[in-house]
């Protein structure tokens, strides 16, 4: 049996190879899904933890316990630790994540201490486990130092030594902590310490957090506990979990246990359930989008498999009928095809899964549409789900191959002989106008979604998952219009045939009849062509639009290539009335100007950037406005603004302001709101950097409006924040730009951002390094390149680029192979027919003409229509789908981006396909011997 099936498969090796290719790709795409999804989820989870750590300035995967115990229950640190460890054990039993570090802190209830130098301060006496390993003594000795006089050695952080003006050697006496003989506790400061690595995750509570503490050794802490009258020990136990071990598979469980622990234990603390909740929300979107983006290509693959399988069956229907007439049952025939497809599917799984793995790695390295880079793809690894998905794909493939067998296996040889006569019945969809109905449905959906666009954007901003129909509707449209076009082409051919029916040459006559009489078969490849080309175009335009618009917005939001902010120490003094004053001294700007001389930057500019400024117009005050202080010339050279956003080139506005010292440029939304015009005055205020109960205004200079702009480098008119209900709200923001010198005059020296226009080919990190090597302490640095890379790596963009690229590549492969297969088999099937044509005296030239004509009216026309459908789908759907990716309102509206290179690539592939196909067909026909071909008719 096996031998028979093998022989049968080899008999039609080319068609079966195509079938195999189809199943391999299907398996690959299916097995790609879980790997890609889980990889994307893990990557997203990991980046959410990274972001949380950056935002919170604290390790953000911590669980622990804080509480207090009575000293009478726990005599020493070890017994307390035993209790704490019992909790840790319980957590670790449920959570499958290792702790990387542990910060255990125990403190005796604090009290005021008086030092021998007259300082009176409040201190806790603290023991921290393993503290010695994570700190350096910067001055003096460690807490094991021996001191006389019955005092205990303790150490203190550098920061609080400075803050409290303490000195090493100072003795602190705690009057309220006494031993049995009522003698108060005394500690001598023996050393000053600092963390030995500021990024050490041990310091969950940082030294800054551990204000008002002195630290003693474990032995001394125990001794003090034993001898003195402290009643309570406070403790914090923090476990720093390895969030790299947190994955899509255990995130839900982890969240569940965190809640359980919290409910069961009021002292339990953790700081990352928000991260997981946020992740779970986004994960829904990722899962949906991966499916939605893969679905069209899966449908295309199934259609391909069905097409090839039908082609094989058609060629074998005589064989099937013969088997039937010799008494083989339908079941047995089905068995043969089931066996064949099972063999193919097993081979396909063996090849498809590794290919799926590679495709996934490729997709994960995508930078943009059809652009792949070297990227860390370690999140994407083999997943057990791949086996399940590929098995499912194989089963579906087998179904698609064997189901049409029913149709053939039912027929006897007599019915086969008369089948061709019935091949002219209209296909189902054509008879019931399914194409027109589907086009109408898709347009209706589009109309509805377009109406709801603002609310869709807001719901996506609030974290809801996008409606998959928004995506699928475009595929539906392409498919439905593909069918409609097929109908129209058929009408057109009939019409053309009709108008010249008396005069057509034999070749044209035969080709027209060929097309109209085999429309069912031709229709399939035509729709396939329309869909592939239209989808290829739509996907490329979609991906380009998302990438370009995202990049453009990032460019706009930053306004230049690199922005850094240096730490300026603040000077403080008190005047006679005990009022605190502050001042800044400008750091040397030369160090930045030198970057231009060194060829690292094209230009640099000082920019006072304050997004908490207030604009005052008449009696009204608008808070949280953006105020920029700029040197017009430097700013013009350094900042960049896309053209076309303002009425005039933005340099005009800079020039307008340059000549008026108190001149300001304001945003048009402000001008509209308060009916302001050039020449009017407004005031703008900034606030003191020292935070008090209420912000204190530094000054509120008045400015003359020199220009009103719609867009400005670094100014985004819209901000989003969550309101008390957790709903995202859009808020309008206003801009005022002033001359730098005038702003300094009004507000005093102000720490500014340095904007840099980076020279071509220079890595921004070299600039940062250059600055840091000069000893500049940067408190903030933002790089456009870095932002763009981050955007490209963000899961949503990555999966979209990756899958659109994959889909495109697969569609092109399918289209080429499908097209060739269709034509080759169709020629092979028609060999006898060509023999008759040749015998009747048709020349090769005429046969070629006939084939060209046939291709013109079926394939070429369908391809051209494919471009039309792709363009229509782009115009109709891209802006809607882009809302899922770019839901925020922005000064730069979403604009459709078409990369002609993609279209050219696609066209080259299509043209190559036609040329190769034609050459192959010609070769087959040339080799064909008339007498040989005619013999085919004799069996």
């Amino acid at each position: 049996m096996f031998k028979f099936l093998g022989h049968k498969l080899l008999n039609k090796k080319w068609l079966n190879a195509c079938l195999l290719l189809g199943i391999i790709l299907l398996v690959a795409v299916a097995s790609c899904n879980p790997m890609f999804k889980n990889g994307a989820l893990d990557m997203m989870l990991s980046s959410k933890f990274d972001a949380a750590i950056e935002n919170n300035n604290r390790y953000s995967c911590m669980i622990g316990r804080t509480g207090s115990v009575a000293t009478e229950d726990f005599a020493d640190t070890d017994s307390l630790k035993e209790k704490i460890v019992s909790y840790e054990k319980m957590w670790n039993e449920y959570l499958d994540i290792d702790a990387m570090e542990n910060q255990l802190y125990m403190a005796m209830e604090g009290t005021f201490a008086v030092s021998n130098l007259g300082n009176r301060k409040y201190f806790d006496i603290v023991y921290m486990e393993d503290m010695e390993k994570h700190m350096d003594i910067t001055y003096g000795e460690g807490m094991d130092a021996s001191v006389s006089d019955g005092t205990y050695p303790c150490i203190i952080s550098q920061k609080y030594l400075d803050t409290y003006n303490l000195v090493v050697g100072e003795v602190l006496t705690f009057d309220d902590i006494t031993d049995a003989s009522k003698k108060p506790l005394s500690c001598t400061i023996v050393g000053v310490f600092q963390e030995n690595d500021s990024s050490d995750i041990y310091w969950y509570d940082t030294i800054n957090d551990l204000e008002k503490r002195i630290f003693v050794s474990k032995d001394n802490f125990n001794e003090i506990l034993e001898k003195y009258n402290a009643l309570t020990i406070y403790y914090n136990d923090y476990q720093m979990l390895d969030y790299a071990q947190m994955t899509h598979s255990n995130a839900m469980d982890t969240l569940y246990y965190l809640n359980e622990f919290q409910n069961a234990d009021g002292h339990f603390v953790q700081n990352f359930s928000d991260v997981i909740i946020d992740y779970i929300g986004d994960a829904k979107t990722i899962k949906i989008i991966i499916w939605v983006l893969e679905l069209p290509v899966i449908v295309l693959l199934l259609a391909f498999i069905y097409m090839v399988s039908s082609q094989i069956l058609e060629m074998e229907d005589g064989e099937i009928a013969m088997l039937k007439s010799r008494g083989t049952s339908t079941k047995q025939i089905l068995g043969i095809y089931l066996g064949e497809s099972a063999i193919l599917s097993i081979i396909a799984m063996a090849i498809g899964i590794p290919i799926g793995y590679l495709l996934c790695k490729l997709a994960a390295s995508s930078k943009s549409f059809l652009q792949f880079g070297i990227r860390d793809t370690h999140f994407y690894g083999f997943d057990i789900g791949m086996l399940v998905y590929s098995l499912a794909a194989a089963v579906v493939a087998i179904l698609f191959i064997t189901l049409p067998v029913f149709k053939y296996a039912k027929n006897s040889i007599v019915e086969v002989k008369s089948r061709n006569g019935k091949a002219n019945t209209k296909p189902f969809w054509e008879k019931f106008f399914i194409d027109i109905i589907l086009v109408a449905v898709s347009i209706y959906l589009l109309y509805n979604y377009n109406k709801q666009k603002p609310s869709i954007a807001m719901s996506i901003l609030s974290g809801s998952r996008p409606d998959p129909l928004i995506f699928l509707n475009s595929s539906l449209f392409i498919f439905a219009v593909g069918l409609l076009i097929l109908r129209l082409i058929k009408y057109m051919i009939k019409f053309i045939y009709f108008i010249g029916r008396k005069k057509w040459s034999p070749a044209v006559y035969a080709s027209f009849l060929q097309i109209t009489r085999t429309v069912k078969k031709q229709g399939f490849i035509s729709v396939f062509l329309v869909m592939t080309i239209a989808m290829g175009m739509f996907n490329s335009n979609m991906a380009r639009t998302i990438n370009e618009n995202k990049t453009e917005r990032l460019e706009y939001d930053m306004g230049t290539d690199l922005i850094v902010q240096e730490h300026w120490p603040m000077g403080i003094y008190m005047d006679k009335e005990k009022k605190t004053h502050w001042y800044y001294t400008e750091e040397d700007f030369e160090r930045y100007s030198k970057l231009v001389d060194a060829g690292l930057c094209n230009s640099v500019a000082r920019v006072i950037y304050d997004d908490e400024a207030t604009i005052k117009i008449g009696g009204t005050e608008l808070s949280d406005c953006l105020m920029l202080g700029i040197n017009t010339k430097d700013f013009g050279n350094t900042a960049e603004l896309k053209s076309g956003l303002n009425e005039k080139h933005w340099f005009h506005y800079l020039n307008d302001m340059a000549t008026v010292s108190n001149g300001v440029i304001i945003s048009s939304n402000l001008a509209e709101k308060y009916k302001l015009a050039v020449g009017d005055s407004i005031s703008y205020a900034r606030y003191s950097p020292i935070s008090g109960e209420t912000p204190e205004e530094i000054a509120s200079p008045s400015g003359t409006i020199c220009a009103i702009v719609d867009a400005w480098p670094g100014f985004n008119q819209f901000t989003y924040s969550k309101n008390s209900d957790g709903k995202v709200e859009e808020k309008e923001r206003y801009l005022v730009v002033a001359n730098y010198a005038y702003a300094v005059g009004a507000f005093g020296q102000t720490p500014y951002q340095v904007w840099m226009n980076v020279a071509d080919g220079v890595d921004y990190q070299d600039i940062i390094k250059n600055l840091e090597d000069q000893g500049i302490r940067l408190t903030a640095k933002t790089s456009l390149v870095n932002n763009i890379t981050k955007m490209q790596e963000s899961p949503l963009v990555l999966i979209t680029n990756g899958l659109f690229s994959l889909t495109f590549i697969i569609a092109v492969i399918l289209c080429t192979v499908g097209f060739l297969i269709y034509w080759i088999t169709s020629i092979k099937q028609r060999e006898l027919l060509f023999g008759i044509y040749r015998a009747m005296g048709m020349s090769m030239k005429e046969i070629n003409k006939m084939l060209i004509n046939e291709q013109m009216f079926s394939s070429v026309l369908a391809s051209i229509a494919g471009y039309g459908v792709g363009a229509a789908a782009t115009i109709l759907f891209v802006k809607l789908v882009a809302v899922v990716y770019l839901p925020e309102s922005h000064n730069i509206g979403i604009s459709i981006v078409v990369n002609p290179l993609d279209i050219i690539k696609l066209t080259v592939v299509v043209l190559l396909m036609f040329i190769v196909c034609f050459i192959v067909l010609r070769t087959i026909l040339k080799k064909m011997n008339i007498t040989q071909a005619l013999k085919l008719g004799e069996d």
């Binding site: 040459s505 035969a510 085999t518 027919l833 008759i836 015998a839 009747m840 005296g841």
Partner: protein
């Protein structure tokens, strides 16, 4: 007097076997096909009669020897001239699936006329020849909606429609039952007698032999009678 339409002289046709040895399907055949007569090539299958018919009809070329049609030698003709010969002066009837499956009876005949650049009223001629073969009523039927005999009659109509000088028929009755076969033969006789067409056909059916004006018997690539 009898004029010869086709004269074949010393025709040999050699095929290379898989073993590399030459095999002579025709071993030096001399044959005269008289004009306006029904010539029958008789022989068992494998005798070489179809090979001979293909060569006589300019579908295949002999390895040696030459054929003259009305004093024109095939060897002196180019490929395209031979195509024109087949197109304008010859009609073909093949053993089984002789019709173009995507065209109905009417269109099959029309196609032949278009190929032969028929000068007159095509529509009228099509109806005429289809009536002649008794299929006027089934004009718009597709080949697969017709019986084998009907199909063969359409093929005959197509072969004669453009008024060729010679019709070649390879086992025209091979796939038909006796009655249909005789029907076809009767049509051939009528064409020869009434329209003066020359017909060359092959058959292995001894019963049809007596209907031929000239009969050649072929065995192992040689004329034996």
């Amino acid at each position: 007097m009898d004029m010869n339409m086709i004269q074949a002289r010393d025709i040999k046709r050699c095929f290379m076997l898989g073993s590399g040895e030459p095999f002579y399907a025709l071993k030096g055949i001399n044959i005269d096909v008289p004009a306006s007569k029904l010539t029958i090539l008789k022989g068992r299958s494998g005798s070489g009669k179809t090979t001979l018919l293909n060569i006589l009809s300019a579908l295949d070329e002999p390895s040696e020897g030459d054929i003259m049609i009305e004093d024109r030698a095939y060897s002196a003709m180019s490929e395209s001239q031979r195509e024109e010969l087949r197109r304008y002066e010859i009609g073909f009837i093949f053993q089984s699936v002789a019709l173009i499956p995507i065209m109905n009876a009417y269109e099959n005949v029309d196609f032949g006329l278009r190929l032969a650049k028929y000068e007159g009223n095509r529509d009228q001629r099509i109806k005429e020849v289809l009536s002649m073969v008794g299929l006027a009523a089934r004009m718009y039927h597709m080949p697969n909606q017709m019986s084998g005999g009907e199909q063969q009659r359409v093929a005959i109509a197509r072969a004669v429609a453009h008024k060729p000088k010679v019709i070649f028929a390879d086992e025209p009755t091979g796939a038909l039952d006796t009655a249909s076969g005789l029907n076809v033969m009767k049509l051939f006789k009528d064409l020869v007698n009434k329209e003066g067409i020359t017909i060359v056909m092959t058959t292995h059916d001894p019963n049809l032999m007596e209907l031929g004006d000239v009969v050649y018997e072929i065995e192992d690539g040689e004329i034996i009678g």
